[in-house]
Point group: C2
């Protein structure tokens, strides 16, 4: 009714309204044991009447726990990473934590800058999907954190005590490679990008699967940046070469998009003129014509698992742990026997 806006009521206002001391209000609201039921009721109703909500900043200043966690991802525009963040946010929210989110735009420098900022905000823990987990200055910085850290599918920087959740890329990629070999492909081209763990694991899995096959089978790796451009350029080289590789594995969403562009530009038929396996993406592949075979990690799950792990470690500091999540391989018509082309 009044035109004045009441300032948000604080604990002192509640104390006065209930006619008790501030400390008593604090105890009652925080569920301490030594509070009489009558007093608790009185304070609860006073707080309700005033619409009291504690100031989390002040609580954090006093208790040194902010009930917030910092999440840094290399690129939030990447739907895969967004899914991971969504999963983590959900778990953390349900546990009463807030998420401070930053994106480092694939720049190692921003990784560190963002982490520093989050430290300044006194987050209780970190979930990190970094641009470059191996950057030399990073380890020093993380050592200062003094709070639990969970890495998303990354290698652990040397001599650092952090937990992590990783994907078993090896299993899925091995199955993909064997599938192609079983179809009769003798040469498999692998496009990967970035120096992070996924690229390395994928390369390792495919090369060793091909090596094991023996019989003149071989694997050519196209390494570069994690980008559509690299995917398109590499696939272009593969397809324009004579003799061309009959099968391509694109190690990531952007690389897959690039490869698709190169294939389309040349008017080639998927699963006939060239076989293709993608990774990560779940949006593009299944509805494609024809559907594209895929090795995929459940990105939402890695977010959930990372949050669970972090919550556990924030609650009771313990030794660092590592969790491995499976990857799936879906055969789809984009893979066929090597063509006559």
């Amino acid at each position: 009714v009044s035109g004045q806006r009441a300032p948000r009521s604080n604990i002192r206002a509640v104390a006065e309204h209930a006619g008790v001391a501030m400390s008593t209000v604090s105890r009652a609201l925080n569920g301490h044991v030594d509070v009489s039921p009558a007093m608790r009721e009185r304070i609860d109703s006073a707080a309700r009447e005033l619409g009291y909500r504690p100031n989390i900043l002040a609580q954090g200043l006093r208790t040194r726990r902010t009930r917030s966690v910092g999440i840094t991802v290399s690129d939030l525009s990447d739907p895969a990473l967004a899914a991971a963040v969504a999963g983590a946010e959900r778990q953390l929210r349900r546990a009463g934590y807030s998420v401070l989110l930053t994106s480092s735009e694939r720049a190692a420098e921003l990784d560190r800058e963002n982490i520093r900022l989050l430290m300044q905000r006194s987050v209780d823990g970190f979930i990190l999907g970094l641009s470059d987990a191996q950057h030399p200055a990073l380890a020093d910085l993380l050592r200062e954190a003094e709070v639990p850290i969970v890495l998303l599918d990354h290698d652990v920087p040397a001599g650092l005590a952090v937990s992590r959740v990783v994907f078993d890329h090896h299993a899925g990629m091995t199955r993909a490679a064997r599938h192609l070999l079983a179809l009769g492909h003798r040469e498999i081209a692998l496009i990967v990008g970035g120096r992070a763990r996924p690229a390395r694991e994928r390369r390792l899995a495919v090369t060793s699967a091909v090596d094991e096959a023996g019989g003149g089978c071989h694997c050519v790796v196209y390494d570069g940046s994690f980008s559509v451009a690299h995917g398109e350029r590499s696939a272009g080289r593969i397809l324009d070469r004579t003799p061309q590789a009959s099968a391509i594995i694109a190690g990531g969403t952007l690389l897959l998009r690039g490869a698709l562009r190169a294939i389309r530009a040349r008017g080639l038929r998927l699963g006939v003129d060239v076989s293709l396996v993608g990774c990560d993406d779940v949006l593009v592949a299944d509805l494609h014509t024809p559907p594209i075979a895929l090795v995929y990690p459940d990105m939402r799950s890695i977010g959930l698992a990372a949050a669970d792990l972090l919550l556990e470690q924030m609650l009771t500091p313990a030794a660092c742990r590592q969790i491995s999540l499976p990857t799936r391989f879906s055969r789809r018509p984009s893979c066929g026997p090597p063509g006559s082309r």
Copy 2:
């Protein structure tokens, strides 16, 4: 060298190290005018030596400005919304603001719960991509916020002073409908979902474009939830009806995915047996075979614009503003003349 970890140094430590008063340190570090160059240099180097970083919580408690903004989106797993968040985060980070992110999982109840939580954390402003901007209890809550608010492509709740950035869905959808009409389609089926602004604008645009065409042209709207299931079910009904509509517009990513499934399940050829226009999505559509025509809003831009608008309003409180962003229509082979089927 020492095994002890030093507690993060505070302003008092810097003051003692430099042999001056805390207030002087505060002034020097915050760039006040009345500080002698010599003193500034002395304090700067002391701060550097101690690796001092101000505690943002304490600053916020004192100044009532936290340099943080709350972002709530209805579903972070939606790549479109993730792109908007990524855009906003970038601008805010560059302006020195941190992002507190929550997702409301398409539940109006969580919208409010999350906003309340963000208010408790004293954010300086909000960017909201809500699940239900019209929920009756929402307006009251937002009125309590006392900080600038920017809505993402939503209607403004009655009697509320907020800014917003919207897409001109009307323009893009009108062009799409006219394109289909020009190709000779007489009946256009529109699948929309959700009660939010985009669905309403799209329906309005398509129905009026079809009405204007006259000559027995008509439009059938399939309204429902914003989900793959609704898209698939609606497209199924459209395609199984006799006579079937020859053109479908799917008003959103999930609906498009559903429609594609229905079309594929019936073995129909896009652009021949049935014409299809999608909305929003940029990942699936362009690389599809054949490429799918699309009305698309630039989601990253809406994030950027929302952040810019919010920053402006946080800096100098002013009247609420509204910004309209264009939508583009891309003709692609998924649209052809009505078939003989």
